[in-house]
């Protein structure tokens, strides 16, 4: 799972839908790999608009990265260093193995072989 995807997924348990603790999920015991991708600054600049920055910070911290700016960066067209950092973090960082825990119901979702599994066991399925 790409780091970026953590910005769009939440706990799949129906009763967690209204809780502000079900997003972002909390990452632990993660094995990371860098999967090289073509650098596309325009894509990063335009995508930044839709990201929940607090969720980016939270997941980055879970993964041991506390070097990001506290506020969502703006006007970064010329800031090659930051653009490259975001490229590497959001688009190249693969979570190969790991756990994602819901802050509301504490259900644990697993990432195996780079694929995050959001299927619920029958007793939790909606």
């Amino acid at each position: 799972m790409k780091f970026l995807t953590s910005n769009f997924v939440m706990c799949a348990v129906k009763s967690c839908a209204g809780s502000d603790k079900s997003f972002p999920l909390h990452f632990s015991e993660c094995k990371l790999e860098l999967e090289e991708q073509d650098f596309n600054p325009d894509f990063i600049i335009s995508m930044l608009e839709r990201l929940n920055w607090d969720a980016v910070l939270s997941v980055a911290k879970d993964l041991g990265n506390t070097s990001l700016p506290v506020q969502k960066p703006e006007n970064i067209e010329g800031n090659e260093v930051l653009l490259k950092d975001l490229h590497s973090l959001l688009l190249e960082t693969q979570i190969v193995e790991g756990k994602m825990t819901c802050g509301n119901c504490q259900h644990i979702y697993y990432i195996k072989d780079s694929i995050a599994n959001f299927l619920l066991p029958p007793h939790l399925a909606n």
Binding site: L4, T5, F8, A12, D42, F43, S46, L120
Partner: protein
């Protein structure tokens, strides 16, 4: 004609092999190329969710030819499909913006976030919808899961329709494939009665062997 993506070393014992229904979706997106290129989504970079991606041919085609600057989440119940979809995309298009997750319909997606949703559902009328296999002996079930949709072929699609309004962003839209036995006109009428904030219309249809397939656009207006 835009080239159809190639699928590197597919295992059609465990994933759905692209067929007339898949190709109808590709043809629809090709015919709507200028519509999508001029469409204003709620965000500059749209989020595309494909449910039941299978081989990944549809996500790959849209990423390569229609909306190269979108973010893609290709989901499937089947882990082999997730891996295959990523491989197919990588063999044909940029992988900077594409990911795949195992997920049941829209259950793990943030509400009001999806700008474009594509679903080629298990639409074939069948006695029941198969359960997700738990052991490797049951793995032949994966292809049945991709096909069988309960008595009218609508069990899974109906479930998705219930969550559609909560999943799509404003101005977001879903493309869902039906066969004639799903009674799609009635489904569309009923959906618009229940959700007056949607406009639903048929955008393409085709006779394919003994089936008549159609795709409907569900546009969330507000």
């Amino acid at each position: 004609m835009l080239p159809t993506p190639t699928i590197p070393s597919p295992d059609y014992e465990r994933i759905y092999e692209p067929a007339e229904d898949s190709f109808l979706i590709l043809d629809l997106f090709e015919s709507q190329l200028s519509y999508f290129q001029s469409k204003r989504f709620s965000k500059k970079t749209p989020l595309v969710l494909e449910i039941g991606t299978g081989s990944g041919i549809i996500t790959t085609f849209i990423n390569k030819h229609i909306l190269p600057n979108a973010i893609y989440v290709a989901s499937d119940l089947n882990p082999y499909a997730c891996k295959t979809a990523l491989r197919t995309n990588k063999a044909n298009a940029s992988s900077i913006n594409v990911d795949s997750i195992r997920c049941d319909l829209t259950t793990a997606l943030l509400p009001n976030s999806v700008d474009l949703l594509v679903f080629n559902p298990p639409y074939v009328p069948a006695e029941f919808v198969p359960q997700v296999p738990e052991t490797s002996e049951d793995e032949h079930t994966w292809v049945d899961i991709a096909l069988n949709g309960g008595p009218e072929g609508m069990d899974v699609t109906n479930q998705l329709l219930q969550s559609l309004s909560d999943t799509l962003s404003v101005d977001g839209e879903a493309y869902i494939l039906f066969c004639a036995r799903n009674n799609p006109d009635t489904v569309a009428q009923n959906f618009m009665s229940n959700y007056p904030n949607f406009k639903v219309e048929r955008v393409i249809h085709r006779k394919a062997g003994w089936e008549v397939l159609s795709i409907y656009r569900f546009l969330k207006l507000s």
